[in-house]
Each structure stands twice: as structure tokens, then as C-alpha cells.
């Protein structure tokens, strides 16, 4: 079985999971006590209004038929209408998704580009002061909730030092750049609007950092642990005996095998990050999908909740497939089609 077969098999498994996920979300949304139509309309609605809404949401049908209607809609890209914004949930999600994607991608970049090197340094200088500082820093990242980071960072960098803007995606002086990807930083670059680009970056730093710190700490800890394990192997000893330079050993021989278990967990960390986006977006008034989701949950907006959760689930599955591909690329046992021990 080559790489193609491996990826194909993983994608098929992901689709099965996605179907399961759709059933799970659907059942959770329907099975829980209380009438969604009544909850959406509030206590002032008349019984006739509630009945009309129940009818429109197919709530008066049996569960399997409801699910079938839901899947039929899903196939057309139709997630139903939001009970709060009165718009199609799909359109709402398309509008808000790029902001969340931009935030999560930026956070993911910080997580990998800072976390992994931090772990490498800690492993390279194991049991020295450098190692202890790096580990303490990583641990603080892991144990502090992202919304507490958000508050601390906002207080320090925006209010005390006045370096960065407090909230939003762009200053009022700028118009959003012409829509291409929906991500302001990228779109501003494409349009060549350098000042808008810089402004968007400044708005992005705080929320992305708040979101990244937990995963970053985790990445550093994992890289360190796994590299420390590789350092104990004999071929590292041999490389030293052959007078390879220490940083060459670290980057070329110790890091690569250590990345295989690290990558898998990083995929899971990404899931945690998607969840935490719900909190960070709320603090920084970041107009993304997660903020939309929180609003939907607080307002008991049935279709919007189901839509948001499905998109998050799909995103997570895609990340996992990418992680699998990277692992396969790094690990010759998979790349060359041998069984993994």
C-alpha cells in the first residue's frame, strides 16, 4: 500500500466519521428536552406561531424523516434558515468563516513556528537553565485558559503598553480590502494595500497569540519529550563519535523521528484550538464563525448551531488528514508501504 492508498483509506474513514457526526449533532439537537421552536420564539409567542415554525423546521415529523430532510438540505448546501439573523445559515457561515480561518491559521503558524523550535532548544540543552525556562514557559502556556491569556495580553499589550489595537479586525480608517479569500491580511496583500495589510496584522496578533499559547506550550513539551527519547538511541551516540556538529545532530537526526508522534498530537491540539476560538473571538470581538456559533448557542438557534458544529467537525477532519499525510511523508515505514510497528 503506497501513499495514495493510505490517504484514500484515511479520507474514506473521515467521511464515515463525518456522517456519524452529522447523526450525533442531529440527535443531540432534537433529543434534548424542550421545544426548539418554542425556545427560539420565546415565551411571548402564540401557540399558532410556534406551530407554524415547528412545521417549517419539520419538527412535527418523525426523527428519521427529519434527518432525511436535513441530509437532503445538506447535499444542496442548505443548512436551513437562522432563526436569529433570518438569513440562510450557509450564507452566514460563508461570511464569517474566513475570519475564523485567518485567526486559526495564524495561531497554528505561531504554535508550530515557535513551539517546535522551543522544544528543540529545550531538548538540545536538556537539564540546563535554558531547558528549565523553556519548560516553565511551555507549562504556563498549557495551563492557562486561552480566554485568560486573552485578558492578560489585552491588558498588557493594548492598555498598559498601547502597542496593539484592542478589538476588531481593521481600524475604522480602512475599508475592507476587495474580497478574494475573505482573509483581510491576504486580501490586502493581493490588492497591494500595504497600510491596510499592516493594520490587519496588528489586529490579528493579539487574538492569534492568545489562541496559540496553549498549543504552543503543548508543541514544545511534546517535541522536547520525544526528542529526549531519540537522544537516548545509539545512532545519536555514533553521530557524536563521528564528530558531527551538535546542532546538525539535533536538526537532522534527532528531530525527524521525534516529529512523528508529535505531529499526531498537534492535530488534536488544533481541535482544542478550534474550540478555544469560540472564547477568544468573544473577547476580541472578532467577527468570525466561532462568535456566530456562541451567539447561536446562547440564542438556541437550532440550524445555526448544527451548521457551525458541522463546519468545525469538517475542518478538524481535514486537518487530521493533512497531519496523516505529513506523518506518512516523514515516516519511511508508511511512505514505503511497510507496516508500522
Amino acid at each position: 500500500m503506497g501513499v495514495a492508498g493510505f490517504i484514500l483509506r484515511r479520507s474514506a474513514a473521515a467521511i464515515v466519521v463525518l456522517v456519524g457526526l452529522s447523526i450525533l449533532i442531529f440527535v443531540v439537537a432534537r433529543i434534548i428536552p424542550g421545544d426548539p421552536a418554542r425556545m427560539a420564539l420565546g415565551s411571548v409567542a402564540t401557540p399558532e406561531q410556534v406551530e407554524k415554525l415547528r412545521n417549517r423546521l419539520h419538527l412535527d415529523e418523525s426523527l428519521p424523516i427529519q434527518y432525511w430532510e436535513f441530509i437532503k438540505g445538506l447535499a444542496r448546501g442548505d443548512l436551513g434558515e437562522s432563526l436569529v439573523t433570518r438569513r440562510s445559515v450557509s450564507l452566514d457561515l460563508i461570511d464569517t468563516f474566513p475570519a475564523t480561518l485567518e485567526l486559526v491559521l495564524a495561531a497554528g503558524l505561531i504554535m508550530v513556528l515557535v513551539g517546535v523550535p522551543l522544544g528543540i532548544i529545550a531538548a538540545r540543552y536538556r537539564d540546563t537553565a535554558v531547558d528549565n525556562v523553556a519548560r516553565l514557559f511551555a507549562l504556563l502556556g498549557v495551563v492557562t485558559p486561552s480566554f485568560v491569556w486573552a485578558v492578560f495580553l489585552m491588558l498588557l499589550l493594548s492598555f498598559v503598553l498601547g502597542l496593539l489595537p484592542v478589538a476588531g479586525r481593521l481600524s475604522e480608517a480602512f475599508d475592507p480590502p476587495p474580497m478574494v479569500s475573505g482573509m483581510y491580511t491576504l486580501d490586502a496583500l493581493i490588492a497591494g494595500q500595504w497600510r491596510a495589510f499592516w493594520d490587519a496584522i496588528q489586529h490579528l496578533i493579539l487574538p492569534a497569540l492568545a489562541l496559540a499559547l496553549a498549543g504552543m506550550g503543548q508543541a514544545a513539551r511534546l517535541t522536547r519529550t520525544n526528542m529526549a527519547e531519540v537522544y537516548g538511541r545509539q545512532y545519536i551516540e555514533m553521530a557524536r563519535a563521528f564528530a558531527f556538529r551538535e546542532h546538525e545532530i539535533a536538526l537532522k537526526y534527532a528531530l525527524r523521528p521525534a516529529m512523528i508522534p508529535t505531529l499526531t498530537i498537534l492535530g488534536l491540539d488544533f481541535a482544542v484550538m478550534l474550540g478555544n476560538a469560540f472564547l477568544v473571538e468573544a473577547v476580541f470581538v472578532w467577527p468570525g464563525m466561532a462568535k456566530y456559533g456562541v451567539f447561536a448557542i446562547l440564542r438556541k438557534d437550532l440550524n445555526a448551531i448544527v451548521g457551525t458544529v458541522l463546519v468545525i467537525g469538517a475542518m478538524f477532519l481535514i486537518v487530521n488528514i493533512i497531519v496523516d499525510m505529513l506523518t506518512a511523508y516523514i515516516n519511511p515505514q508508511i511512505r514505503l508501504g511497510r507496516r508500522v510497528a
Binding site: L24, V148, V151, L317
Partner: protein, 282 residues
């Protein structure tokens, strides 16, 4: 007590002073939550209470952590909020661990169809960030201690199923399991007396770490307003409400935030210690 401190286990646990500090912190906070009504400076500030003369007081000798916009002592409220964190954390583990362990044992031991059904179901649950589904479930339920516990437990059992499943898979071919089987032991005996005891070290370590993650999740639910409802103190909600008074009344958010951080850190360090002591990989 003396025997405990002289034991081999304690020696291994206490090799890192951080683990000991973690354990000590947990014990102190647990004790404080139990005797909170006796030591809290202003027990009446836990409920509905307004003191207009002392609103938004900065931290000082009278109010260690300052007061909120109703003039309530934040230190007192943090002490009481810790009670909820501990209670929900323990209850979640009390539900998620048995459910997860039983399913993991069954899937790992019997394999075949049982394995497929149980493990593919856990895959579905693990395909979502735990916080997102817990929030979605809480969205439909009334926020109460019981429902918070329920929503988090629903998300938590698959992690234990997966852990025990992997352990059972590797243990079931061990000599002593085969020996028990040959000598005619029932499946129940093998699962509970041969396999389960060997899962306990990993289980305990994971539970210590998970306590910290459950506490984080309770705080996160509280932060978006899906935790304990006012006037009951909730650490996450206190942070969220304090954000409105930033930057001038910084103590309203910062102290409850630090309170979460310290408890989570303590359970993490304790988990590190247990892991070293029991020599397991979680």
C-alpha cells in the same frame, strides 16, 4: 503517615519538588473549599448582595482581590467558585471513567463487531473539539450543576475508552491472561481481576491530568455564560464580566483568571509526578 513518606512510591514522586508543590496546592485548595464558610471574609457576598459604597474597590487589606461592580468581595467569591470546580470535576470523572473503562475493556477484549461499533462511535465523539459539543449541549439545557456535569461527561468518556482499549489490546495476549483463560476463568474474572488492575496506573495518571482539563472546560463554559448562573460565583463568568471594566478595574478579571491558572497548574504538576512515580505513558 511516616510509612508513606518512607515508601518507594513517595521517593519517586518527590524526586521533583514541582510534583510535591502541585500536590500541596491541591490539598490546600481542597481544604479551603471545604471550610470556605468559616474562613471567607464576607460569606454573605456569595449570594445577591449590593454594597454601593464599596463598589469597584482595588485590592487591599480589607478586600484581598478587590470588589466587583456590586461591591462584593472577589476573594470570597473565588473561594466559593472553587467548590463548583472541584465538585463538577470529580463528578465528571466519576461518570466518564466507569463508562469509558467498561466500553474500552469490552471493545479491546472481544474485538470483532463489538470493537468496531464502540471504537467507531468514539471516533465520532473525538472528531469535535470537546468544548464545542459541550457548549452545543449546554445551549439546549438549563445551566445547572447537574447539566454542566452531564454535558462535559458526554464528551469525556471516549478518551478513557480509547486508553483502556489500547491497554486491553496489548494485555490480552499476556501469559497470565492466557493462563487464567486456560484454567477456566470467566471473561468477567479476566477483565476485572487480570486486565483492569494493570490499567490502574495509566488510569490514575490520566485522571489527574484530566481534572485540570475538566476545570478548564468548566471555566470556559462559564466564560461564555453557560456555567453556573448568577448570583452563584463562577470563575469563568467572573473573568468575562471583568472584561467590561478593563483596563481600570483590572482585578475583576485578573484574580479569577489567576485562580483558574493555579488550580489547573497544580493538577498538571501532580499528574507529572504520578506519571514519574507509576512510570506510565498517557
Amino acid at each position: 503517615m511516616r510509612r508513606l513518606f518512607r515508601s518507594r512510591a513517595w521517593y519517586k514522586f518527590s524526586r521533583s519538588w514541582l510534583s510535591v508543590a502541585g500536590l500541596a496546592t491541591i490539598l490546600v485548595i481542597a481544604l479551603v473549599t471545604v471550610v470556605a464558610p468559616l474562613i471567607a471574609p464576607f460569606p454573605e457576598h456569595v449570594g445577591i448582595f449590593v454594597d454601593f459604597r464599596n463598589t469597584e474597590q482595588p485590592p487591599g487589606w480589607l478586600y484581598f482581590f478587590g470588589t466587583d461592580d456590586n461591591g462584593r468581595d472577589i476573594f470570597t467569591r473565588v473561594l466559593y467558585a472553587y467548590r463548583v470546580s472541584f465538585a463538577v470535576g470529580l463528578l465528571v470523572l466519576a461518570i466518564a471513567v466507569p463508562v469509558g473503562v467498561i466500553l474500552g475493556l469490552l471493545a479491546g477484549y472481544y474485538g470483532g463487531l463489538v470493537d468496531t461499533v464502540i471504537m467507531r462511535t468514539t471516533d465520532v465523539f473525538l472528531a469535535l473539539p470537546p468544548l464545542v459539543l459541550a457548549m452545543a449541549i449546554m445551549g439546549y439545557l438549563q445551566p445547572s450543576l447537574f447539566n454542566i456535569m452531564l454535558a462535559i461527561s458526554v464528551m469525556w468518556w471516549p478518551w478513557y475508552t480509547r486508553l483502556i482499549y489500547n491497554l486491553t489490546r496489548s494485555l490480552r495476549h499476556e501469559g497470565y491472561v492466557q493462563a487464567a483463560k486456560v484454567s477456566g476463568a470467566s471473561d468477567l474474572h479476566i477483565l476485572l481481576k487480570e486486565i483492569l488492575p494493570n490499567c490502574v496506573p495509566s488510569l490514575l495518571t490520566k485522571m489527574a491530568f484530566d481534572m485540570s482539563f475538566v476545570i478548564l472546560m468548566i471555566a470556559a463554559l462559564g466564560f461564555v455564560g453557560l456555567g453556573m448562573q448568577p448570583p452563584t460565583p463562577d470563575l469563568g463568568r467572573m473573568v468575562a464580566e471583568g472584561v467590561r471594566f478593563m483596563p481600570f478595574d483590572w482585578w475583576m478579571s485578573v484574580f479569577p483568571g489567576l485562580a483558574i491558572l493555579i488550580l489547573v497548574l497544580a493538577f498538571n504538576l501532580f499528574g507529572d509526578g504520578l506519571r514519574d512515580m507509576l512510570d506510565v505513558d498517557v
